[in-house]
């Protein structure tokens, strides 16, 4: 036993099937075609990526679809070196907010395509405002990992 007092393990493992609804399948189908689709609010004019059913600010339905560019600028980022249970991938990796050209909000994804082992070098390479573009997965499953990551544009 790892602890010096008496304990019991209590693992909670449960299965789920999450419904995507009407809007998100269209977004994911777009990824399959290497397109990033957003929705535009008729009231405030903002373009949201990923697409949403309704405008998070105006609380009105959004029906207009807009393709945004698979490239944009880094808003902010972090280099993850911490390991933890159930992590999505083996550190080190970079998670960033990216403002895609044509969108009015940040898009969360990985940044990669280069050596991440040296933190100093990563800091030198990744600057806020730097341009990145989507690296597509050769095999597409219509989910967020159809984009492998965003890579710096030279």
């Amino acid at each position: 036993m790892a602890k010096e007092y008496r304990t019991i393990r209590n693992d909670v493992a449960l299965p789920y099937q999450w419904a995507l609804g009407k809007t998100w399948p269209r977004f994911f189908d777009g990824l399959k075609e290497e397109k990033i689709r957003g929705t535009k609010c008729a009231d405030c004019g903002r373009v949201y990526v990923p697409a949403r059913t309704f405008c998070p600010v105006c609380f009105t339905d959004m029906t207009q679809w807009v393709d945004v560019k698979p490239e944009g600028k880094i808003v902010t980022w972090t280099l993850v070196r911490e390991k933890y249970y159930g992590q999505v991938k083996e550190p080190p990796y970079v998670v960033a907010l990216i403002k895609l050209d044509g969108a009015d909000c940040g898009f969360s994804h990985f940044i990669g395509g280069f050596d991440l082992s040296d933190a100093k070098q990563v800091r030198q390479k990744l600057k806020t405002g730097a341009k990145v573009k989507a690296v597509w997965s050769p095999e597409k499953k219509a989910d967020i990992h159809d984009i492998v990551c965003f890579a710096p544009v030279k």
Partner: protein
């Protein structure tokens, strides 16, 4: 309007406890009832503060909590975050239905997985969770923006950890007790660059209770009632990309609390603040948004020494969340500590100046998605 006072406070240490969660809870509520000279039956209503995902794998947390908080066949309820539980307790008294309410928040971090895997379940399963978003990741991204936009330095952020962990040495209930130097913090592992290990809060155990009473009842129960003067809370957008991480909802929450409490100039009026800073730099950012200094002035604020224990506006004399982080209970810990400062009962970490008005703050969610501010007065 009726008035509400905190009459008594009881808290456990934040260190790992070998008690079962039920007994751990019972001991603190037994203590607060004894302090107040009350029996379980005398309390009007009991509100728990606990969150399922932070609850040892026992879902419907209130079910397990019910016995330990002393709520058998009593009126009661549960809110998922403890500042919310506190406010709900105040509502119950303000409504005129109850004269006493016991509010208890509880968690055993030592029984839970780390906070990072837990907070990743805040994320939706389609977009945010699959790309590794959790509270620390968003905080790190927020920190980078904060430093770049306002030219706040990494050292200034690290100083918060140095200050709060030093304060914690004087708090018998603190979890992380270790004097650290600026160099220690700066050279600690860059877990989420630019966030360093010593700038991230630990995972603590904790049970904390406050007894609330109506004005007439409070005056009978204690010589030093601490009055609930103001409250504000505000929720931000879910997706971190939909917001400006440096301009969130804390200003809105603070404005509401100050308005209710009649605070015009927080810098002058607030004598001490207990701010929820699970990440060191957040104390600086939150201080700006609470109006303790101008926008981007957080770095200078810490340099000035004003937020030190003996400064003009001490922040986190208890050591804050960086020292003790019983996640869903940490908001009520801030409120309890603020109340102790007003009562003059904070012991070795009592601040130098006389405290008439204190502020307690709580936040949870990615990059501070939800903020609560509570103002207490003597």
């Amino acid at each position: 309007m009726r008035r509400v006072a905190i009459t008594h406070v009881a808290q456990s240490s934040g260190a790992e406890s070998r008690e079962s969660l039920m007994d751990f809870t019972y001991q603190i509520n037994r203590e607060i009832l004894d302090k107040a000279g009350l029996k379980r039956e005398d309390v009007g209503c009991i509100i728990a503060g606990s969150a399922d995902i932070f609850h040892s794998g026992l879902s419907c947390a209130n079910a397990f909590d019910w016995d330990g908080i002393g709520a058998f066949l009593k009126e009661g309820s549960r809110a998922e975050e403890s500042a919310m539980s506190f406010i709900y307790g105040c509502m119950r008294i303000l409504s005129g239905h109850y004269d006493t309410v016991l509010v208890t928040a509880l968690v055993k971090g030592s029984e839970n997985p780390d906070n990072d895997p837990i907070t990743s379940f805040y994320g939706d399963p389609f977009y945010l969770r699959p790309v590794g978003i959790n509270e620390s990741v968003v905080a790190a991204m927020q920190m980078r923006q904060y430093m770049e936009r306002y030219k706040v330095t990494e050292e200034q952020c690290a100083k918060v950890a140095v200050k709060n962990l030093a304060n914690a040495l004087f708090n018998p209930y603190a979890d992380r007790k270790r004097r650290v130097s600026l160099k220690d913090v700066m050279s600690s592992e860059r877990v989420y660059d630019p966030l360093k290990a010593l700038e991230c809060a630990p995972k603590s155990d904790g049970v904390v209770s406050v007894l609330l009473a109506s004005e007439s009842r409070a005056k009978k129960l204690t010589k030093k009632p601490v009055w609930f003067a103001g409250y504000g809370c505000s929720m931000d957008h879910f997706n971190p990309g939909d917001r400006d991480l440096l301009n969130g909802q804390l200003k809105t929450a603070a404005a509401a609390a100050y308005k209710m409490a009649g605070v015009r100039d927080p810098k002058k009026k607030i004598d001490v603040a207990e701010v929820c800073e699970p990440y060191a730099f957040q104390e600086l950012l939150w201080c700006e948004q609470l109006g303790f200094c101008g926008e981007g002035g957080g770095g200078k604020l810490i340099d000035s020494g004003a937020t030190q224990m003996d400064g003009a506006l001490p922040v986190n004399p208890s050591g804050g969340v960086l020292a003790t982080n019983p996640y869903p209970a940490r908001g009520l810990y801030r409120i309890a500590e603020a109340a102790l400062q007003i009562k003059g009962e904070a012991g070795e970490h009592q601040v130098g100046k006389k405290v008439k008005t204190a502020l307690a703050h709580s936040t949870h969610g990615f990059g501070g998605q939800c903020h609560s501010v509570v103002i207490l007065s003597a």
